[in-house]
Amino acid sequence: MSPGNHLVVLPIVLPLAAGALMLLLDERRSTLKAAVSLVAGVALLAVSIALARLADAPLPPVYAVGSWPAPFGIVLVADRLAATMVLLVAVLGIAAIVFSLARWHRAGPRFHSLVQFLLMGLNGAFLTGDLFNLFVFFELLLAASYGLALHGSGTARVRWSLHYIVMNLGASLLFLIGIALIYGVAGTLNMAQLSARLAEIPAGDRVLAQAGAGVLAVAFLVKAGMWPLGFWLPSAYAAASAPAAALFSILSKVGVYAVLRLWLLLFGGTIGADLLFYGGVATLVFGVIGMLASQDLGRLGGYSLLVSSGTLLATLSRADGAVTGAALFYIVASTLGIAAFFLLAELVQRSRALGADVLAVTAEAFDLADEEAEPGEKPGTVIPAAMALLGLSFACCALLVAGLPPLPGFVAKFALLAGVLAPDPITGRAWALLALLTLSGLASVIALGRAGVRIFWAVEEPTVPRVRVIEMAPVAMLLALCFALTVAAGPAMRYLRAAADALHAPQTYIESVLPPR
């Protein structure tokens, strides 16, 4: 095995090592922990950039863990889609870590370790080529996300986290049932081997395999927040602390990713397309109504996540290379945009008293309340003209979420619609999608515009929030990446189109995992 191949396992090993190391450090050494976490995040970014370049090859690199050959051992497969998602995880991780350095990482114990474990779970879920391993990584990322959802404590967080945890534990049990059914019928859990073997299953048993896949899909769609499985999502995400919520913006994409990967690999996108389409449309409509109805910025962010999930599910159900490529671009753009929005929401709402959203006991326990008053501690550089900067960023986020030019949300939606409307007799579904996507953009503009007007213009006595450079920097970084994505839309689109084509022709995936003898 060449040393380049070990790159594939690094996105999992690196955060694991960093997180474990930080567990050994005393809670009071927060500066050291922050340094370790940040270094690990930057290293992860470097690794994932290298991985994305490595994955841009005819055959995706495959890593056999422990050098056990494919059907017996666990494999990690870094195809273009997995590498893109890992890159996205690294970017979000750095943004969340940097943002938390201002104060959030001291609002509760073990913040940096939890973030690193979440990054590990996410990377593992994207890279693995084994169904049971996918379950294990799902559990890892969920366990870390439970801790992060509770980070900062407080009645609202505990209350909504309870729903979040119970929903996801239930979904995990469904996941196990689906895995067991598929294993019982096909006798393997390697995804590439499953793909080859499902076609050979006798018709009587195939129903069982399809039932298993259906149960699996329910488990994934709970994570993606598909209506009617996603009622828990907006409240739980709105209650979470800002850096945690920013990271959570990719959690729902994990569900979409798993559906996309397994649906195309195992069934070639043939069965269940109707369900995905109608489920996606229902999610889209529910998300739009929720956006229009919500007053709180956090909930607005949660519902815009549902809108993006719905858009993805409804368009992906076309099982068409061009549409899937555009949908992958939309995943990247909307995840970056919504993560920036969650971070921004906390900054904008800071005109409320400091620590109003942190439980008094926690604030006392971690010396949060004294932070501002303490003369010895430097408050960090405070940005002048904070309100103007926040307003500008908010406008960018709104453009991004609503899908208006010049930001990549527009490019993504345009490419989606171009793909959907490409086949010559345009079907009724394509028209419905066109109408829905346009209307959802309009509704997002209305909801976000209204929120913006209320926050930035219609205030009697504007209290300018104290925003530090270190808090504004991650938001600016995410938005700058979005601008870069618009400029480099051509190469990015080419890469993602290649990823989508590989998904629709899984033969290369199967051959690289199980080389023909």
Partner: protein, 113 residues
């Protein structure tokens, strides 16, 4: 044998689902525990219910599927047990925290009107 195991899984899962839908947090927790027992047994029997056969092929013996049990579901179920145990413990802490903060053990944190 199969029938007994099937009934066992059915009873565990049925009770689990019923408890999961109850309004008290402790009932929800017990429901999730019962459900995970049911699911664990379900995974286990996916390697078929066989009595008195080892999960290892003996030396020199032919790979006859009737003479050994499938070891993979046993390994899977071990992982599943550990994970569900850990997450249930975590949930218990959250349930206790919710009970302390909201002064009620209703899952919504407030009593029905």
């Amino acid at each position: 044998m199969e029938l007994i195991v099937a009934i066992l899984i059915g009873v565990l899962t049925g009770s689990g689902v019923w408890l999961l839908l109850r309004p008290r947090t402790f009932q929800v927790m017990l429901g999730l525990s019962l459900l995970s027992y049911g699911v664990n047994v379900f995974i286990f029997v996916m390697g078929w219910v066989r009595d008195g056969v080892p999960p290892i092929v003996g030396q020199g013996a032919a790979a006859d599927f009737a003479r050994f049990a499938d070891p993979l579901p046993q390994a899977l179920v071990l992982t599943a047990i550990v994970i569900s145990f850990a997450t249930t413990a975590l949930l218990l802490v959250v349930v206790l925290a919710a009970r302390g903060l909201t002064r009620t053990d209703h899952v919504d944190g407030e009593e029905d009107a």
